[in-house]
């Protein structure tokens, strides 16, 4: 990915500086502003909008793994919701069924531990389904990752996992069971804080990996696997590592999302959600963390506005409400088409242009 230009008159004194994340005071200032918005402004919005922010965060966590695989490693996946489901169910089962010592439940440690375990289990499950990538590429990989979706969610979870403890379909998460330290996850604001921390953490993990050995190896495999192999990169190993990290973050996404739900069931993780996440990175721009963030914000907000536009009309045309699902899916499809035709580099590319424009201003030569 191209590096942005630095503001006029800035150059680096040493390599350490050149490798730093936030290279100028201006960037530091922007980050502080972002921090203030994230931690002090958004939580005070109407809880409805905090809920929307939570949805955006959940989408970012899911899309981050998809972008890691598709955008950075070049491994197409259409079954990512499966690993989110694995994280969610692992976490739920641990919290509800594991014989935790009372002190643990009391101190609210059970849920945090279950997030980590959920992430690891989802990561390993993802590696398992990534194994075919050692042999196949492109279209065939699409099929094997789709198999991950159907085998995991539609078969294993629906038929067996969802029935653990004699339950019918859904696992209800009684109020008070999801407790993170002293905080019971019972309102959108608390869920929001957890979301922000997890999203920032995962973005930091991915960004750090991308600027060190593993990330470079992934991008090398994406761009030219033959050259990568001759440089000493164990292509199969690094593909699997990418599947692991993507699954790991999916697991965090799933485990996080249960804090926002009163009950979970396999319907929360349909195949369409896997497709949706791919659409998000296409719209945001593949191979860019900014793209993942912008794509998630864009898609979630467009759907919100669509819903807000349609609800008042529903008084006049009641059937609109029944059809909302279809309207949503078609809008999504349309948005992807429009972006692929008119903005193939995604939103992140516009952002990059805008940023360079302002950085180089007023001497944009």
């Amino acid at each position: 990915m191209a590096k942005g230009f630095l503001p006029c008159g800035t150059y680096h004194q040493d390599y350490l500086h050149d490798h730093a994340w936030w290279q100028t005071k201006f960037v530091k200032g922007k980050m502080i502003l972002l921090g203030i918005i994230l931690f002090f402004v958004i939580p005070h919005l109407d809880p409805y909008w905090v809920g929307v922010a939570n949805m955006i965060g959940y989408t970012i966590l899911g899309a981050l793994g998809v972008d890691l695989l598709i955008g950075f490693t070049g491994q197409i996946t259409l079954g990512h919701a499966a690993f989110i489901a694995v994280g969610a169910y692992t976490s739920t089962l641990l919290v509800l069924e594991f014989p935790w010592p009372h002190a643990f439940i009391h101190m609210g440690i059970a849920y945090p531990i279950s997030i980590i375990v959920g992430a690891i289990v989802a990561g390993l499950w993802s590696v398992l389904w990534g194994l075919p990538s050692a042999k196949v590429k492109g279209f065939y990989l699409i099929l094997t990752t789709m198999a991950a979706q159907f085998v995991t969610v539609n078969f294993i979870i629906t038929q067996y996992v969802a029935k653990i403890g004699g339950r019918g379909q859904a696992f209800s998460l009684p109020p008070g069971t999801i407790k993170f330290g002293p905080w019971v996850m019972d309102n959108p604001i608390r869920v929001y804080y957890l979301m922000v921390i997890l999203v920032l953490l995962c973005i930091a993990i991915v960004a750090n990996l991308l600027r060190s050995k593993p990330g470079r190896a992934w991008m090398a495999i994406r761009d030219n696997d033959i050259a990568a192999e001759t440089l000493g990169i164990n292509v199969v190993l690094y593909k699997l590592l990418s599947f692991f990290v993507a699954g790991f973050i999916a697991g965090i996404a799933g485990a996080f999302w249960i804090s926002n739900l009163a009950a979970i069931s396999p319907e929360h993780f349909p195949w369409s959600w896997s497709l949706w996440l791919v659409g998000v990175i296409l719209i945001g721009g593949t191979g860019s963390i900014h793209g993942t963030i912008f794509g998630s914000m864009f898609m979630v907000l467009v759907m919100e506005f669509l819903q807000m536009g349609i609800l008042p009309l529903a008084d006049i045309y009641p059937q609109l409400l029944d059809k909302f699902f279809f309207i949503k899916e078609s809008t999504f499809g349309l948005a992807i088409c429009v972006f692929l035709i008119f903005e193939p580099n995604g939103l992140s590319y516009r952002w990059w242009q805008l940023k360079n424009y302002f950085n180089l201003w007023p001497f944009s030569y």
Partner: protein
Amino acid sequence: MAETMKEGDELLKVENIHMSFGKVAALSGVSFKVRKGEIHSIIGPNGAGKTVMMNCINGLYRPQRGNIIYKGQKINHLKPYQRAKLGISRTFQKIELFSGMTVLDNIRLGRHIHMKTGILSGALYVGKTSREEIEHRAYIEEEIIDLLEIESIRDKIVGMLPYGLQKRVELGRALALDPELLILDEPLAGLNLEEVEDMARFILDVNEEERWRVTCILVEHDMGVVMDLSDSVTVLNFGEMIADGTPEEIQSNPEVIKAYLGAEDLYVSRA
């Protein structure tokens, strides 16, 4: 053992290699030796099997018969990435750079085998990883970029560079592995006169300078440069080895002259 090899010892031995694609026999029974410290050229008309031979040495192809022995060890079964770790590096006839990345990132990828950062330390980017990145950056700047005189393009996207510079970056990336054996598949093809001179000088530098002392296998059509640079030459024709010896011996070998006759105009010497 490996580290105690002396100049002139046998670094690579290729024994009776047979490789065919369906009915096309690309190599039939090729054998030759490369001694440590030398520049060993492989020449031959188009389609002679030179690139296939390089792919066999580097592990991209598995020959149906024969042995590749590197530092006295049979490496037939090793994958390309394992051979890279043993010190075998290469450039390609048709440039295989990461064209969307910067020059610096391409060369950084050449340092892959010398870096230790794993998933966990990379994710945290703690002291060790950060230090490693800086160390390798310094290495690249001081050893590679300086040598190849590409300071001014280090942050450029490789795909945007002119062909001659891309060839140079590819050499830089191959050198970043700090290889013991460097395979150069037509490094001069498509370069202009000045670029040919530069590239020939770089090859000689990495072969002769105390710091590098890299053994080279050079596949080239430019006879002038081949005869100038090489310590020994192997000639292939239709997948068979027709001659092997010093440049002088090759130049006066009637078989070689015959093989090249008729295609003479294709191999105009620039010397």
